[in-house]
Symmetry: C2
Subunit: 348 residues, 2 copies
Amino acid sequence: MADFSLNCPNPLHYDHIVMAHGGGGRLMQQLLAQIVLPTLQNPLLDQQHDSAVLAMPSGRLAFTTDSYVIKPLFFPGGDIGKLAICGTLNDLAMSAARPLHLSCGLIIEEGLPIADLQTILRSMQTAAAAAGVRIVTGDTKVVDRGKGDGVYINTAGIGVVADGVTIAPAMIQPGDAIILNSDLGRHGIAVMLEREGLNFSHSLVSDCADLSGLVGELLAAGIELHCLRDLTRGGLASVLFELATSCGLAFGIDETALPIHDDVRAACELLGLDPLYIANEGCMVAFVGEKHADALLDRLRQHPLGQQACRIGRVSDSPSRTPLTLHSRLGIARPLTLLSGEQLPRIC
Amino acid sequence: MADFSLNCPNPLHYDHIVMAHGGGGRLMQQLLAQIVLPTLQNPLLDQQHDSAVLAMPSGRLAFTTDSYVIKPLFFPGGDIGKLAICGTLNDLAMSAARPLHLSCGLIIEEGLPIADLQTILRSMQTAAAAAGVRIVTGDTKVVDRGKGDGVYINTAGIGVVADGVTIAPAMIQPGDAIILNSDLGRHGIAVMLEREGLNFSHSLVSDCADLSGLVGELLAAGIELHCLRDLTRGGLASVLFELATSCGLAFGIDETALPIHDDVRAACELLGLDPLYIANEGCMVAFVGEKHADALLDRLRQHPLGQQACRIGRVSDSPSRTPLTLHSRLGIARPLTLLSGEQLPRIC
């Protein structure tokens, strides 16, 4: 982006964010008017009032929030902007909500290249538009150099859940099949390789994707999903451990069934990481009654984000067992628990 | 808080935040289970699902977000937690929305004392409960030491706007009275004195307050408000300049009418600051037709947050004039514009 200022005169006369861009004065107005609003443009955001005022849909309201502090800001397969949209859309989708509206709170570190901010905002807009939603309200703050890390983004999302649909941990039943839509660990490994400057793989990109369209198709097809959960921080093992604990059931998963990209497997072996605990951003597990499992797999495999869909395990009702057990390729049952933290911090 | 660990054994066995508290593993679960959820406790948040699923109210939906990066975290009259609740409630109130639900996204810097986090969360809970709303969904991220500044908080808010009520900049009419509920500049000056360690005033505290109850009473009383706006970043002058510009009208304000605390005035004179550009967190301007102005003043003065309510100016329809004019105590008409940035950065 070194020649940005030559090819595209910066209307702000600044190449980098300065404190005054967050100060509520002329420079902040210029940043909003020339960079933020044209990129995220839509009639609701253009109201520029303190809140967006929106039509009330019928159904139930879903509401979620996530902050994104990923490092680096740009990684193979996406950037923090795409991630901030997809991550929050996915949180809505996991509650069976059709996403309606998003908010965007930017915490920008003084010194961020404005060209980078524009790229990130464009990614947000592209990802939101692809999902048919809009960023209807936002906020921009600037913090001093050394008190942030480029930009942190919070998005909150509102969605609508159809009456009669309840997809939640409490709905998981003994006998449920545990089904995965995609291969594990690509987001975490792609980000880590980029962060550390390791030219390990040129084909490995993050799985960062919006799952809300896929979930909408599953619901429209009448598949009786019990629970959905995206496999973000902590990866498959952490998510399943938490779910099993919260619903008091035991989950067994089959190691040989887990799809893992060769480059992810190789990077994990080389670096001593466990792919079961690596974050994903386009992976989810679905819990479904056995009689719906094949239909779910069929539907998933018809969608670009579900082509590797597979059955990875089963729910059982055995309170004496550990919440989560991995049946290894050697036939050994290995209990899985939570790690104390994240193998790879700042991954989302 | 030096003796916190002596008086109150920390259930986490950590006095300070470490990276693993944001990692999605055991330490993060402990932080949520032992510190965050008990403090913010409510049945919706306790669902711990990816989104909160809520009853859909009737009316229109208001949606807003703000991030809070104030420095220092604790200041006379409040802390970042109280501010993060009141600020977002106020944004809803300014759109005539009755606040319903809040989200909370924490970006915590490694090393934050857990006792400080608890104090901040308690402030959030207290302020939310006082307004009759709950934090129904949240997210916690931890960033490395030196990549944050204690804690940044994003809150998003959902509210409901009654059918038939529209309070927005576009509703401002020539002839409207401009009315202020409270004195100017206390938040900015109190925070700045605390930040700089100036023992200038022992009586000066931030005006940080939730205005949603007051606005609800005004609406219930049938006062036909045209527009409301809280006077945060950039203060009275910036907010009025933006509003006047956006609706293509001219606002005149009377300097002698502006209520300013003696200590604020003195601090501003000493430090070369203009109180008209200092941020407030419990101040708003209301635009109302002349025939409703006295009723509005009466109502405001009956409320603890409106006892100093006064008429400060008038809207006129003169496109040739500057958008915002201050009539000074010497009778001089001084055009006011935006400053390039904020006199006091990191004020909210």
